[in-house]
């Protein structure tokens, strides 16, 4: 297994497509080669936090007169 390290953008893409649930085979194979689990976990938690913030912001926007 070539130890190519995945950059933050690639991790982000992986996590976002995970949230959606769909993935290309080719991009997956790139992931399998370069991603470390800890990267995905950290990115996952960060993305979920961002997700909550985004919804809260949106709610703030629609729920204020």
């Amino acid at each position: 297994m070539g130890e190519r390290k995945a950059g933050p953008l690639q991790v982000l893409r992986t996590v976002l497509s995970g949230l959606f649930g769909v993935r290309h085979r080719r991009t997956h194979e790139e992931d399998a080669a370069g991603l470390r689990p800890i990267q995905v976990i950290v990115a996952g938690v960060v993305v979920v936090a961002a997700f909550v913030l985004a919804i809260v912001t949106f709610v703030h926007f629609v729920a204020t007169k």
Binding site: G18, F20, V56, H60
Partner: protein, 536 residues
């Protein structure tokens, strides 16, 4: 203990050279994952029968308006115990049983990582089951709060409530230990050459479920402990009279409760992700996306809990937040359904009993997911909260979802466990009687809920009679069908056509490289993995 047993002369049974005690002591002292898996499964079935009998008492009372058979107090106790026993006594232990039996064989490990703790996790369950059932017979009867144990009721009831609290503590300890064991086994005992991203999907779903359990069972334990101290030690966490807040309990409970529904659903997803590819003779579609989607479902399940609390008086912004978040979490769940359908696309399918139950799961779980989506809409839920619509929703996801998946698992793995094929004709009868009676029992409950019939009441207004009668007939049919299941399982244990190592043409994975039944100790030497073996 083991050393006291003399070494049998001449090892007649292949490599089955265990020094295990005979009779009941074998089961009490066992540290073998297969024995413990078997005990989990029988415990689960026994609890399923007890909880099922309670459900039939509920449905009998609801056959007609007015009070016929039971007192309202007793009716409430049945509602509570049915829920607690089915969730914590039947469904969860069933999937831990599958995990015990199958995960070591799937990953090529000799046993679970902590074999002695495994014994303890199981043997905690019977005391909890006894506490729950025995609480019916104490002064004041069992808890009558519903399985959600909301205060103020739960700080008022008698000793039956304390017994329920202790039962929840014990069950929680068992779940936590079981999860630590499963997580450790999966992370550390995989055969060399099986990377995480190549391991069977059932292991993935359990790995994530294990983390979920470790995260939320302590939360539940904390919540019920706070009830306990409110009841006996003068605290007022939830007691408004002392400055406490009953709604706080709901937040804590559902912070556990919503991840809990995925604790139940994810291993069920795992089973279906083995059965459908096996009988469609195609590998699972989108293995990696499946893994990621399951992980993200687990993460997001922590941020939607208050969709159970739309009517407690949240600010509009809170309602909106939980509505949007809940609707969005349905996306990865929905994509799972497409994954399974795509797996079947152009597959060469056959419809043996495990596949039938997996397809039943697919159809009916999808209905349950859709009604969940309906309920997640705050404006709609304000009408439907605490009606039979909610009861219909969660029975579609828990019974037609998790339970059907458990049936699929039993039929799929029974030849492996017993060494005998089950009776296919009777298995199919079990499927058809179950799915028909299930729908007769639960589909009308959608209409009852939409028409406004509240849940958890022993009596109802006349206009609800017809659908309730249909539902009761269906429920008794469903109950009877499960006796057929017991018969099929017993029959396969006692004999039947000899099962080959791999009875299903399309099945893949290490567990099928072992003979059926597998030796008492399997994979004492880790198997050698090739490129294709060991992938779900």
């Amino acid at each position: 203990m083991e050393a006291t047993h003399a070494h049998g002369a001449g090892h007649a049974h292949g490599d089955d050279h265990s020094h295990r005690p005979k009779g009941i002591m074998r089961w009490i002292t066992t540290t073998n994952h297969k024995d413990i898996g078997t005990m989990y499964l029988w415990f689960s079935f026994a609890m399923f029968m007890v909880g099922g009998a309670m459900a039939l008492i509920i449905r009998a009372e609801l056959f007609q308006p007015g009070l016929q058979y039971v007192e309202p107090e007793f009716f409430n106790q049945m509602i509570t115990l049915h829920g607690l026993i089915m969730v914590f006594g039947a469904i969860m232990p069933a999937f831990v049983g599958f995990a015990n039996w199958m995960i070591p064989m799937m990953i090529g490990a000799p046993d679970m990582a902590f074999a002695r703790m495994n014994n303890w996790s199981f043997w905690l369950l019977p005391p909890a089951g006894i506490l729950l059932t025995a609480s019916m017979f104490v002064p004041g009867g069992a808890a009558g709060t519903g399985w959600t144990l909301y205060p103020p009721l739960s700080i008022q009831m008698g000793i039956g409530m304390d017994m329920a609290i202790f039962a929840v503590h014990i069950l929680g300890m068992s779940s936590i230990m079981g999860s630590i064991n499963i997580v450790t086994t999966i992370l550390n005992l995989r055969a060399p050459g099986m990377p995480l991203m190549r391991m069977p999907m059932f292991c993935w779903t359990w790995l994530i479920t294990g983390y979920l359990l470790i995260a939320v069972m302590p939360v539940l334990a904390g919540a019920v402990t706070m009830i306990l101290t409110d009841r006996h030690f003068g605290t007022s966490f939830f007691n408004a009279a002392g400055g406490g807040d009953p709604v706080l309990f709901q937040h804590i409970f559902w912070f556990f409760g919503h991840p809990e529904v995925y604790i139940i659903a994810l291993p069920a997803f795992g089973v279906v992700s083995h059965v459908i590819p096996a009988f469609a003779r195609k590998p699972i579609f989108g293995y990696t996306s499946m893994v990621y989607a399951i992980a993200s479902i687990a993460l997001i399940s922590f941020i939607v809990w208050a969709h159970h609390m739309y009517v407690v008086g949240m600010p509009v912004a809170g309602q909106l937040y939980f509505m949007y978040a809940t609707i969005l979490i349905a996306v990865p769940t929905g994509v799972k359904v497409f994954n399974w359908v795509a797996t079947m696309w152009r597959g060469s399918m056959t419809f043996e009993t495990p596949m039938l139950f997996a397809l039943g799961f697919l159809f009916l779980f999808t209905i349950g997911g859709f009604t969940g989506l309906v309920l997640s809409n705050t404006a709609v839920d304000v009408q439907l909260q605490d009606t039979y619509y909610v009861v219909a929703h969660f029975h579609y996801v828990m019974v037609a979802g998790a339970l059907f998946s458990a049936f699929a698992a039993v039929y799929y793995w029974l030849p492996k466990w017993t060494g005998h094929m089950y009776d296919e004709t009777l298995g199919q009868w079990h499927f058809w009687t179950s799915i028909v009676s299930f729908n007769i029992a639960f589909f009308p409950q959608h209409f009852l809920g939409l028409a406004g019939m509240p849940r958890r009441i022993p009596d109802y207004a006349l206009q609800f009679t017809d659908f309730n009668q249909v539902s009761t007939v269906g429920a008794f049919g469903f109950g009877l069908s499960q006796l057929l299941f017991l018969y099929v399982v017993l029959k396969a244990i006692r004999g039947g056509e000899k099962a080959p190592a791999k009875p299903w043409e399309g099945a893949t994975g290490l567990e099928w490289t072992l003979p059926s039944p597998p030796p008492y100790h399997s994979f004492e030497e880790p198997p050698v993995l090739t490129e294709t073996k060991g992938h779900a």
